[in-house]
Symmetry: C3
Subunit: 287 residues, 3 copies
């Protein structure tokens, strides 16, 4: 099984699927291709929350604002899972979660040794490498595009790893151990006091729920809180308040969310991803 995640929209992911399916008959599962454009942190959050529900799989992740620069293409073994993507931190939180107690192992893709895809039939009008006059490769060699490594580097790598099966990471000649550490990415941690929490909006989901980085335990035993000045009830379900009214709840990822029943919490609270949020449970008489 190979999962695919990107910020590509339509139809670039299909080119990656074609490349994969030339190399392997794996089941392909879309995690999503509408991740916030070039937002490494948002994708890192979502992947950390979603990928652990999958059975062992190869996860192809292409949120890659540095495409074509000298950032590495990396492969990470995380327990029974393998992740493939750019070395920009996007893989790291998911890999840690997937690995559990196992150590993470990283390898780097040698793009010169990896065979790039050759499309069927006549070659395209030109190749992305034409800018460098010293490059002897012809279009028929399938040189990697400087702007679409999802198709030309990451998908071939994931497909070859799947096709090689057990032991792939030890035997594929275009993989080498990563020297040094991968680029890290830490999701921000909140500051927790007794009746206060100061955190951040990690992401806003498609429902408009503003997901904070404050652990859900903060709401335990509370009936209401003040979030950035707005006093709202603490509820277990959206439907506990009338349609259109705001609430705070513990979302499905275990964090405090600021929501509106049948509406958009981000708009009601005036919050977007990255915004600072202060939760105050001080005036709750039960506290």
């Amino acid at each position: 099984m190979i999962t695919l995640a990107s910020d590509f929209g339509t139809p670039y992911p299909a080119a990656m699927k074609g490349v994969l399916l030339r190399r392997t008959d794996a089941k392909l599962v879309d995690v999503g291709h509408n991740f916030p454009r070039q937002d490494v942190r948002a994708a890192a959050f979502w992947l950390r929350e979603v990928l652990p529900y999958f059975p062992p799989a190869i996860h192809l992740v292409v949120i890659d604002p540095g495409v074509g620069t000298d950032r590495n293409a990396i492969v990470c073994r995380a327990g029974e899972h393998v992740l493939v993507g750019p070395d920009n931190g996007v893989l790291v939180p998911a890999a840690r979660r997937l690995a559990g107690d196992a150590a993470l192992e990283y390898a780097v893709v040698d793009e010169q040794l990896l065979e790039s895809p050759t499309p069927a039939g006549t070659p395209p009008a030109s190749s992305a490498r034409t800018l460098s006059d010293t490059d002897d490769q012809t279009a028929a060699d399938g040189p990697a595009s400087a702007t679409f490594h999802g198709r030309d580097v990451f998908a071939p790598a994931a497909g070859e790893i799947h096709a090689a099966g057990q032991g792939a990471l030890e035997t594929l000649e275009w993989l080498a151990p990563l020297e040094g550490n991968p680029v890290g990415l830490e999701l921000p941690e909140p500051t927790l006091e007794n009746n206060y929490a100061t955190g951040e909006i990690l992401v806003v989901d498609d429902f408009g729920n503003a997901i904070t980085n404050v652990p859900g335990e903060f709401l335990a035993g509370r009936d209401r809180i003040v979030a950035n000045g707005d006093r709202v009830p603490v509820c277990e379900t959206f439907a506990a308040v009338p349609a259109g009214e705001a609430l705070a709840t513990v979302g499905s990822h275990g964090y405090v969310e600021l929501d509106v029943n049948r509406g958009r919490g981000d708009e009601a609270f005036g919050l977007e991803a990255g915004d600072r949020v202060r939760l105050d449970a001080n005036d709750d008489p039960d506290s």
Copy 2:
């Protein structure tokens, strides 16, 4: 085969797919995850029109504005098909259509007996159950979220049913016969007179076609009608009128649609889902 329908956007459906694929190797087919948000009636319409084209399958349906309340999670056997979703009526019109002459059988999911999914690796920061102090479950038990039953209740149920194969509904211990009747949902019926029809816009599709609940027969033999005051030709195809011009036709679901060739019928007629529409064929000289 398991089909998936929701109003979740991205990337929540992927978590459901991971949960399913831990339980079974079923082929997964997306019906769509962009159904109008929390609009039970629109989803019920689309499912009734789309699911009957599938071969026998398990249909996982999560349009669930009452998530976390005491509404039941139900399973419905409809002929050779099985539907899994909330007991809010969303399944009912499709189930009736799928069953044909067969009787519908409903069962209710006992969420205490159904094993919730446990994500890989370290547990999330907290669990959605932390609001209730009396709950002894730990995160490692994989307690159901109060806000994401698609992942924690409906997907595990559909996956277990698929994995159990024939006779699943008789043998799975977390299924019990539904006492009483499921929550019903009737799509509105039009009023038909000789040369008049008074109906309602059921849905507007992604092309902007305004789909009424008036049977297509109403247009038989007519050359033009007046729809809410706008006189438009009755055509078999969009392309029968110039680009940008309005028409009435019989849509692919058999109902009168108000459309614009290469444009949006909803905007031209000023109509949206739920609006009342009056069709008048009285001034058609052929009538």
Copy 3:
């Protein structure tokens, strides 16, 4: 393997998938269902660039503004690939690319002989054929809708071809050789002089990159160009300029693209699909 491409949005493609899966257990892969609405040329471009990355497959293509008119439904053998769709040119550029040196073979679908899909259970309220009083077909016969040939003609055809396997195009009785030529579609060619190129924006992708029809070679050895009056650097990667700044590069399809790093090139250059673009490399001191 069957790929699907359409401009249908949600949930019409699911009906096509149901129809396919009643006829064959093929792996289904979405190329995309958000192609620009009824824009045959844009779809033709994307399909030509994406489909050649797939292994041999049947490609179901439904961008069909003339649905229900007398345009033919056609099948094209292109090397090891088969394309199914309307005879409006949308298939042609991809078919030529897929065929390589092989000759293209076209057949036309006899819609009277092809078995239309019959949905499960009770028939829909009416049928799309009710407008023609002389039609003897009943709803139970599954007559083709006049407005949804994707479900009622193209998907059944693709499914039958897949199920019939090798030799399908020679043996299926509802296929006949196409008399004459298919409707053609030529993507526009640019005018190239030494230091000037006059071309057109073929498409704008979901990132906002404005993709021209000028071959990437035009940029070889240049450091900057003037595009419709805007002087921009020529770069190999988006990240070569600061976020928010414009550039010209060779895109992943081999054409000159006008982009903005982490922004939208179409907006920065004021360009949309179909617009004329003039590239001037004359003031580049290296030229």
